[in-house]
Symmetry: C2
Subunit: 384 residues, 2 copies
Amino acid sequence: GGAAAAPKPADPYAHEPERLPALIVRSQKPMNSETPMELLTAALVTPNDLFYVRNHLPVPVVNPDTYRLKIEGEGVRAVELSLEDLKTKFKRHSITATLQCTGNRRQEYNTSGRPVKGLEWDGGSISTAVWTGVRLRDVLRAAGLEEDEPLVQHIQFEGLDTDMAETVYGASIEVDKAMDPAGDVLLAFEMNGQALPRDHGYPLRVVVPGVAGCRSVKWVGKIIASAEESTSFWQQKDYKSFGPNVDWDNVDWSSAPAIQAMPVTSQICEPAAGTQVDDDEVTLKGYAWSGSGQGIIRVDVSADGGKTWHQAELKKVPQKRGRGWAWALWEATLPVPKGHKGPLELVCKATDESYNTQPESAAPIWNLRGVNCNSWHRVLVDVQ
Amino acid sequence: GGAAAAPKPADPYAHEPERLPALIVRSQKPMNSETPMELLTAALVTPNDLFYVRNHLPVPVVNPDTYRLKIEGEGVRAVELSLEDLKTKFKRHSITATLQCTGNRRQEYNTSGRPVKGLEWDGGSISTAVWTGVRLRDVLRAAGLEEDEPLVQHIQFEGLDTDMAETVYGASIEVDKAMDPAGDVLLAFEMNGQALPRDHGYPLRVVVPGVAGCRSVKWVGKIIASAEESTSFWQQKDYKSFGPNVDWDNVDWSSAPAIQAMPVTSQICEPAAGTQVDDDEVTLKGYAWSGSGQGIIRVDVSADGGKTWHQAELKKVPQKRGRGWAWALWEATLPVPKGHKGPLELVCKATDESYNTQPESAAPIWNLRGVNCNSWHRVLVDVQ
Ligand SMILES: [Mo]
Ligand SMILES: [Mo]
């Protein structure tokens, strides 16, 4: 008889979890979806099923009973840990931390006149949760890693998510961040008091607070202590930022560091662009966040395109200076300039504990990957 | 006989050290002087006698043999340490760190249209040195301070400099910064390999890298571990930053935190404003720095007011991520736009490791004390 038909390749996306229809989908396979603006500001902590989803590959199916976290590399003993080991042999810690995609607000580079490649995120690829797990530091130390081990400069993470060619998602952070007790890097198994949802890394993910979401590897299966960064595409040739003079024709990927910490940003979540508003006053709601643990100390808002400013009321979880991992939500009610009818430009800009603020416009920070868009957020409403 | 004549009050400034005439004096008593632009970029480390001087009071005369550093407060044993104790009983550390006055570049707020009060600093109240001494952390631990001692939130410093009413200069930092081994806070007795000059705190000063210069208390005589910040004028009612809507009529000093870390900044040191330049190309030199230990990763420069950008060559001391205490010096040679004659606007803006950048203009970050001016630096030259 003839050769058997080649087996039909299974759909690698056949085992995706269910998601709420409220999420705004930017890509289906892999799933990338953002939280709607009006839901973002409802609470300091985002409900699990409304947390933005940034997947690079299909969601893996992981059996928690056979799951093992492997630790290997320089300066450590090779170790395998079950979930039970992690939950019973290490002290638990919880942190409230915001995660944000480096591409958040990427749309604004496109409207600034120079298109960029990548998912067309608006400002909703950011969310906040209470993460519970164990400190990466404690796990590394238990595997024998010494402080200031000269052979180790980076901690690499590999996910259990793979593409058809069995390439796994990978990223790394610097060992100093990983080992800093005040760096608060977690191996988390809970999100807002529940087991991690599959979309957010079940059964275990890394949470690197203050740092671009892409380094908080989900479904983490392996941790490698190394002299080198992760060699993954996403570490080496994707999540990097260049000057506005660098484009796809002249880019030298090795000339820029991998993005770790992210800059101060803020967003007007309400009202939406095009909303019709009364001619007496307008109420704005939004979020503000800065990386590197720099808390938000002030949000300035304007109803005249940035000529005069008012201060928003901030709502935030109390966090220590330098460990301000969570966003601030804010609200402000501004007078509409007297007699104004028609388009009105609302603006916000945040200031963090280091007094870093946002640049006025996107063009001077344009970069070919369209990352770190943190210019003043501007919304045009219509005064009736 | 009649009463004796009241003794003529001694001039509290009778014992000031000699200074180089090259320094640009902004006030004589107390001495406040900045480094000339063209000398700032000569080396990564500023020579001691060219380091900017920011004094709040007369320079005290301190006898090194009888000098004692007093430690007191909550969670510590009261201790007195001689210079000999400090130099022989603790491990020595050296760091290269930039110090900057919060008022650096204050002039630019005045030219933005809303005058501010304070010393009229141009961009030269910033300098860099190699500081050698002992870790504040080690000294506090030797005095019995435990990690996470709940009674202690702040470490206060008192200088030996006093005014006529015997008010001493004082400031404080947060205990977490003081106790963080990676925070690199020093009690320094050497500056660039020499004993501290009198203008810079002889015989002992605090060096708080990444933080506003005013917290790096000179001539430090007392260290107090406390639940509270320093109650000094300079901590409570001077070095704070507000929104552009707050002025001297409505300011509530308690509503803003004391400035600690400072934002990313940069300056074109050469050419000076008004310089006549050739019509083919122009060479720019300057510095860039960011607080919180965020190193500089890029300086973008423009010869057309910020429409197109080039990248400067950076020169910096290698420092770890998150401990980038020293500035970067930079240089760039840019083409003059073809056919351009007359005024040409040169611009620079820096990006730090957190991808924070500088705002375009000073007006939106205007604040009543005129601090933290970090908008794009702009220099108008004249093309012949
Ligand atoms: Mo991302
Ligand atoms: Mo200052």
